[in-house]
Symmetry: C2
Subunit: 342 residues, 2 copies
């Protein structure tokens, strides 16, 4: 790479001092420099294709317009949609992201955090792969930080997270509205807060309808797990007419398991997924976690904080809308979209 032009180069070419170049290029030329010199400077900058060195700018301004992102993989890798949208939104605010994988390990996180602090990042985003509690370390609370898809139980740091309990409730409700009474529940990793909340929501809704809340059936992480679990449930006594799955893969597996028993979705079995955003099929009725909106909100909150805005802690819970597609029907009948606008 040919050496980049510096402000000095521009100054030399325009026959002025470095300071003048800076003034003009930062819009403070008017009233400080003659029209002619301003013009000369702009022309020189143009000619040399000059743009300021961001590193030098950072050293001087003590701001890097860089956000440190702490994340780690879940069952299906990094939270890619959240990261992707955060990256886009940050770019719109002229921030760049420095993403590190902590592996979910506190010691690794400590080291990574130090690296990012050495890099003088302006703030931090913590992006969890699945809804969870997250206790920020002191190093983190000392810097503007926003949690995404996780919450600080002590409420010390702002967060943007999905309302997973409500999501579970909505999944059960659409089935109840269609007349289902025997609802099965397939879950992935039962140890996570995400699963616990989703399950709790489902049970709340079922109980509220006066029915006996379903046992949860531990399925696993991939399609085969879903197929196996659904097969077991559908072959067992008190066969459910509908299934809520905490993950999209399980739902797809359930459809496969049902098909192997000669049951079609939704005629023979209704299915609702608390999807994780993979969108494996366009048929599945899901409760949608609004990753795009959440990521944008989180970045917005952080940028606002960095701009010296409101420093109060805000813990935002995003509602998860029901996405009606084609996997829910009245038991023993054909597909039907819930006309119920809720």
């Amino acid at each position: 790479m040919a050496r980049r032009a510096t402000a000095q180069d521009v100054a030399d070419l325009a026959g002025v001092s470095r300071s003048s170049v800076s003034l003009v290029l930062n819009g403070r030329g008017a009233g400080n420099l003659s029209e002619a010199k301003q013009k000369a400077i702009r022309a020189a900058a143009e000619q040399l294709d000059y743009t300021p060195n961001a590193v030098a700018l950072s050293l001087r301004s003590r701001r890097t317009r860089t956000l440190g992102v702490l994340t780690w993989p879940g069952a299906c890798g990094l939270p890619q949609e959240l990261l992707h949208r955060a990256l886009i939104r940050a770019g719109e605010h002229h921030y760049l992201l420095l993403v590190v994988d902590t592996g979910g390990d506190a010691e690794v996180e400590r080291r990574q955090l130090e690296t990012l602090q050495d890099r003088q990042v302006d703030g931090f985003l913590v992006v969890a792969p699945a809804m969870t509690h997250y206790r920020p370390s002191e190093a983190l609370t000392a810097t503007p930080t926003v949690l995404l898809n996780c919450v600080d139980p002590d409420g010390a740091v702002s967060s943007v997270a999905p309302d997973e309990v409500q999501a579970g409730r909505r999944a059960a409700e659409v089935l109840l509205r269609h007349g289902h009474r025997r609802i099965g529940l397939l879950v992935g990793d039962p140890a996570t807060l995400q699963t616990a909340q989703r399950v709790s929501g489902v049970r709340q809704a079922v109980a509220a309808a006066g029915e006996i809340p379903p046992e949860l059936c531990l399925a696993g992480r991939d399609i085969d797990d879903g197929a196996r679990a659904a097969g077991d449930l559908l072959r067992g006594p008190g066969r459910p007419t509908a299934l809520v799955c905490t993950h999209e893969r399980l739902a797809v597996g359930a459809a496969l398991g049902a098909a192997e028993l000669g049951l079609r979705v939704p005629d023979g079995l209704s299915l609702v997924s608390l999807e994780d955003g993979e969108q494996l099929t366009s048929k599945l009725t899901t409760v949608h976690r609004p990753d795009a909106a959440m990521a944008e909100q989180a970045v917005g909150l952080l940028v606002e904080q960095l701009a010296g805005g409101a420093p109060e802690v805000r813990q935002l819970l995003f509602g998860c809308p029901l996405q009606v597609r084609a996997s829910v029907a009245t038991p023993g009948q054909r597909p039907g979209d819930a006309a119920d606008p809720r």
Copy 2:
């Protein structure tokens, strides 16, 4: 955040000059400073929890230990596995990544590239979501750059990419070895080089076996597309006994479509996927694109170049190994792993 300690703070505490601090902390103390002063400096640094400001370091050294990453989403979003592994490997070399989404748009890419150059990134990684040709702009070729999952047809820049033709060949070969003669071919986006190469490989292998290469059946991107396409093929004349799918989702859909016709995998239908790394099911026999190894190699190449190593262009093609699982059997028989070691 409390003000970070600077080298000056350490010097003051230790009662020496800034230069001495720098010398000692960079391992050049021996022979330059008395033991006592060295000790004092180390103690002071420890006490103040001093680590050098990376921005200042960058300004002086003209190296940022930062890599710019140009990427864009494909049918299933950003190439997350490649990005994830690149990020990890870069970290091991003490590099951090600045990732931007160009949206596959040349004008956006130009702007993003400029931003990254202003940030003084040491080198670039171009990470494509699917194998493709990529012609680097001049700005890119002027800086150390490595392409990942794409190749420069002009061979001006180093690249690490999968051998998709071989992948296609291997998928067909495992089926041929099992005795399949009527092989169907489900493809995603037919306009991509990735698909073209995979299809070409399949056809080569089938032709080499003296059979008539299969027509390709345009399926689409998700599971439903696969189910529909497979259903059509399986209901049509000259029903195939096996299917090659260019994407994992299509293969899962095919299994679903087959199940709906009462056909089980692999007894009634054999399936091989040219997977895209989602690992939706542990049953599917696939040809595996070695994303982890490719990403690590690409980062390695770039880091080597940055360390002043061999500047020759290298265009690496990675073989894609067959991953034998449980979706291939002899036509009309039960599952059987190919004992054939190849």
